[in-house]
């Protein structure tokens, strides 16, 4: 402990994004432990990324996880979820929670946020009318839409309406579309996103939104919501102009109202339109009570965006620690986070500044509208609106209030390739990441002073781009420029023997049509003198050669490139023996098969264990025993399971519709088909697949590189999952595919990965590095944006055609069999150093202590009936 006394108690009421930021900032800065923090959240969960709520549909809870979960494990931080605070006693300096518990505070921060406003339209309490604010709202909406779909006659769509055409309304409409429901946006004003975008932008936006299959009715007031005659659920909207719309679900997104009831009850002044009034230090009238985020009424208004909320949190933390920070004014720049719709605005988007000049570039056909608002001399940037092409947003927004370089500001609005915009050199103080208030200078400093050499490093160091991610292209540009300036070249060299990355070498070998390590190292290696590769590049070359179809991995010179696992076609264990895993496609095995595996394990004295991939691993096999073991297995119809390779391991499955009461597709059949298709496919790292027969997901497919989940209509495919040290959930790539579409999609995904991933890079980090991320992968393999799909398909077809069982091939070739001897001068002698003890009915390697104590039960020659 650095501090001398007991820490002060800071109580934070509210568990949203701004509360999280406040706690993060405090824990990052309060080295001396002056404060302990207790956070009371009304929702039954830790803070999450409310801005990204729509992602919850695609990616589930982890898609909107926020910050480092370790924050809540900090001993000075306590988080109470599902614990609404009911009252504040300013005299006693206590708060009382919903359970009646009283908590004293030294300092109190109100971060209660807003609630969705419900306009007084008759019928707004009907079943089927939702708001869009929390995970619970979104979950209820999804449940309702799914229930409606079940009750509907087949093929009849669920009809949704969103009242309110602002940022939130469009996100809600996107959510309805993601749920396969129709969506119509009802907007009272003249155009969509009226706060952020001018009329011209609003019209371009409408075309874009229509293009997503979403209807728009502007200048329309909803006068009533009427119940369905039979169900009593919401069934129709009546409009003031006499129009009507039949609906099955309504989302109301007309705005938010600050949750200022606690402050009001405690006698704190509130603003005209609500919100607890604070000064520029974010302090209320009570010197020990602060308010941040949407509940705070600062400079006479409440701000419904996360960026100014985060700034307020930083201000309060600074003040608590004795600083003098003040709220610098709100950055109200916004960017719509709806896939496929680019909208962004910042600054004085409506050109309300006296004598402001507007520069507009519009392409109505393509649905593009871009506008800059400039000072009367057309030099200083005052604001901007971007619809259909938000590319200039990231680099222009930080220039707000600064003079633009060059003579012609319209150059910034021309489409890419239509004329180069003047190079933008951001001033150090320009704010690049508004969510986290990170300046260009801080990002440059991460490179120059903190030795960060890539975007993930800079993200971790500065937190830039970790909230909404809109600024990441700019962050990357800054980082690249700074690296270049510092003369730092980020090496992607494999090792001292090859300057290329694995992906570059893969292409080089493929194009040059080379088939041996000697040729490859002579052609592409670093200087030929003294270069015969190493344990890093040789297995990479082996994998490349295998992926390009060069016969058995032990054929000729290829055998010298293999790691011992691939060389022995088995998995090396700590005592120098190997484990053997026969393939059991989809985890399916016959009783006869099980008996053979049991007999082999018993006869060779092998320890057996069920693997996580639904098959059986037999441990303790010596090199010279391997061919005899394989022969028994191969004779019984088994083949190599490739457990030893950087290759397809298993396709895990649940039992599916053939037996399960809930299964909707034959998951085992699909898993077997996939496993037999991709068996033996060599890849940059191991590959695991899973197939679940219904949404209950018993095969844990989303923990796999490729996860397939059955739907009523076909298959959903998820990519980029893994377990291990950094567990990742797979993300949705495509929905409702037929079996053929599914296989073609996986073919291309795997082959694209095999060709372009780095050495030992699993699919999740690979996807992150593909240009455009998951969306970029989707474009390449679903839309053939690079024109390589035919090539990928052909490569996979070759793989399938040329597959052979590696064990059987060895058994049939005396030259290859010769490798499987223990000693060159005593080929069948067991390694005399092996020693075992019995544990739970099976043998395991003896420990050093057991060897010394002489409790070893058997040397290597335990086998009974080989």
């Amino acid at each position: 402990m650095v501090n001398s006394g007991t820490p002060q108690h800071l109580v934070v009421v509210g568990g949203g994004m701004v509360a999280q930021r406040l706690v993060e900032a405090l824990r990052a800065r309060d080295d001396a432990g002056r404060y302990r923090v207790t956070v009371f959240a009304e929702e039954p969960r830790a803070p999450y990324d409310r801005v990204g709520l729509t992602r919850w549909f695609e990616e589930g809870p982890e898609g909107i996880a926020l910050g480092d979960p370790d924050l809540w494990a900090d001993p000075l931080v306590t988080l109470h979820t599902d614990r609404r605070i009911e009252s504040i006693d300013r005299t006693a300096k206590t708060v009382t929670d919903r359970l009646g518990h009283v908590h004293p505070y030294d300092e109190l921060v109100l971060a209660t946020g807003s609630s969705a406003a419900m306009p007084p339209i008759p019928g707004n309490d009907l079943p089927g009318v939702f708001v869009y604010r929390t995970i619970d709202d979104v979950a209820a909406l999804r449940g309702w839409v799914e229930e409606k779909r079940r009750c509907h006659p087949a093929g009849k769509p669920v009809r949704g309406a969103v009242i309110g055409g602002g940022l939130l309304g469009l996100e809600a409409a996107g959510a309805l579309t993601a749920l396969d429901a129709q969506a119509t946006v009802i907007e009272f004003g003249t155009h969509l996103m009226g706060v952020q975008v001018d009329l011209g932008g609003g019209q371009a936006l409408k075309r874009l939104i229509n293009g997503k299959g979403i209807g728009v009715r502007a200048e329309t007031a909803t006068s009533q919501m009427r119940p369905h005659r039979r169900t009593g659920h919401v069934g129709r909207l009546d409009f003031a102009d006499g129009g009507r719309l039949d609906v099955d679900v309504v989302v109301v997104a007309t705005g938010v109202r600050p949750r200022d009831e606690l402050g009001r009850a405690a006698g704190l002044p509130v603003g005209e339109r609500g919100g607890v009034v604070v000064d520029l230090s974010c302090r209320t009238e009570d010197p020990n009570i602060w308010a941040v985020g949407e509940v705070a009424c600062i400079e006479g208004r409440c701000l419904g965006l996360v960026a100014p909320g985060n700034t307020m949190a930083e201000v309060v933390v600074d003040r608590l620690l004795g600083g003098q920070a003040e709220f610098p004014g709100a950055d109200t720049a916004t960017k719509l986070k709806l896939s496929g719709v680019d909208v962004a605005s910042f600054g004085d988007a409506h050109a309300r500044t006296q004598d402001a000049v507007e520069v507009v570039w519009a392409d109505p056909v393509a649905g593009v509208y871009k506008k800059l608002v400039l000072s009367d001399d057309a030099r200083t940037l005052l604001g901007g609106v971007f619809v259909g092409d938000a590319a200039p947003y990231a680099s222009l927004r930080p220039m707000l209030g600064a003079e633009l370089p060059g003579d012609d500001p319209s150059a910034f609005l021309l489409p890419e390739g239509g004329g180069a915009a003047p190079g933008l050199e951001l001033p150090d103080e320009a704010n690049v990441c508004s969510c986290n208030n990170v300046s260009a200078g801080t990002i440059r400093g991460a490179v120059t002073e903190h030795q960060c050499t890539d975007v993930p490093g800079v993200k971790a160091c500065t937190r830039a781009g970790t909230t909404c991610g809109a600024c990441l292209p700019l962050v990357k540009k800054l980082v690249d420029t700074e690296l270049e300036r510092a003369g730092i070249e980020v090496s992607t060299a494999l090792c001292e023997h090859f300057e290329m990355s694995r992906a570059q070498l893969f292409d080089a070998v493929r194009v040059a049509d080379l088939h041996s390590f000697s040729d490859i190292v002579a052609r592409f290696g670093t200087g030929s003198a003294g270069n015969r590769g190493c344990d890093i590049c040789k297995p990479v070359v082996a994998s490349i050669l295998a992926s390009l179809g060069n016969g058995h991995i032990l054929a000729g010179e290829q055998s010298t490139l293999q790691d011992t696992n691939d060389h022995m076609l088995a998995n090396l264990q700590k005592d120098g023996t190997y484990s053997v895993v026969p393939r059991m496609p989809g985890g399916e095995v016959t009783p006869e098969g099980l008996i053979v595996v049991g007999e082999v394990a018993r006869d060779f004295g092998l320890y057996t264990k069920i693997t996580g991939g639904q098959r059986i691993d037999m441990f303790g096999a010596r090199v010279e025993q391997l061919p005899d073991i394989w022969r028994r297995l191969v004779d019984a119809g088994f083949e190599s399971g490739h457990a030893y390779g950087k290759s397809l391991r298993t396709v895990k499955s649940c039992v599916g519709s053939t037996w399960c009461r809930y299964g909707v597709q034959d998951s085992v059949g699909m898993a077997v088909e996939l496993e037999l298709r991709y068996r033996g496919l060599r890849s940059p790292h191991k590959l695991k697949l899973g197939v679940s027969g219904c949404a209950r997901e018993c095969a844990e497919a989303r923990g796999k590189d490729v996860g397939v989940i059955a739907t009523d209509k076909g298959w959903n495919v998820y990519v980029g999952g893994n377990g291990g040290q950094t567990p990742r959930h797979a993300r949705l790539l495509a929905e409702d595919l037929t079996s053929e579409e599914l296989i073609r999609t996986i073919d291309r995904f795997l082959m694209y990965y095999v060709r372009t991933a780095d050495r030992l890079q699993r699919t999740a980090p690979w996807i992150e590095e593909v240009d455009g991320g998951l969306e970029g992968v989707r474009e390449v393999i679903m839309e053939d944006s690079l024109g390589i799909c035919a090539d990928l398909d052909a490569a996979m077809a070759r793989h399938v055609e040329n597959y052979e069982d590696e064990w059987k091939a060895v058994l049939e070739d005396p030259e290859k069999l010769r490798r499987f001897s223990s000693f060159v001068n005593a080929p069948k002698d067991a390694d005399p150093s092996l020693a075992y003890v019995t544990e739970r009915g099976q043998r395991r390697p003896a420990t050093q202590a057991e060897r010394a104590a002489g409790v070893v039960i058997a040397g290597p020659k335990l086998e009974v009936r080989a």
């Binding site: 015969r532 190493c534 040789k538 790691d563 120098g576």
Partner: protein, 141 residues
């Protein structure tokens, strides 16, 4: 064949030389650029035959012998490592935790953030090798 050729059959060397020469195998028993283990009583030796490749310089075509015990795992597996070069020096990488050793001197060149097991020396013992005709002999202490 020009591998480690000697004019005469191996004989007991001088005071610093090996105490005995043991016949290991034929040169053709070894796959080029892969190892093989040989057993002499309780002593396990890993033999490596480098190919006739200019990249190995003066070591091209030669046979090297080091201890088969991997000091970092305690298992007798050095013969199963990947052969290659580091800055021109012929090397073998331990197959368990990937430490890299010189095949010429036995010195551990890359420890890969590990320490040897049970206080074993990190460097490998090397054994003299002589080839007469097609037969490989290993000199043992």
């Amino acid at each position: 064949m020009t591998v480690n050729d000697v004019a005469e059959a191996p004989v007991a060397a001088g005071p610093a030389g090996p105490a005995r020469w043991e016949r290991a195998c034929l040169v053709s028993d070894l796959f080029p650029e892969r190892g093989a283990a040989a057993l002499f009583g309780d002593v396990q030796v890993a033999l490596f035959r480098l190919p006739d490749d200019a990249a190995y310089g003066g070591h091209a075509g030669r046979v090297h012998a080091v201890q088969n015990l991997d000091p970092f795992s305690g298992a007798h597996v050095m013969s199963r490592g990947i052969v290659g070069t580091r800055a021109g020096e012929p090397t073998v990488a331990a197959p368990v935790y990937k430490q890299v050793f010189s095949l010429v001197t036995g010195v551990c060149l890359v420890a890969a953030d590990k320490t040897p097991k049970d206080g074993l020396p990190a460097d490998l013992v090397t054994y003299p090798v002589e080839v007469r005709g097609d037969v490989i002999y290993v000199g043992l202490p």
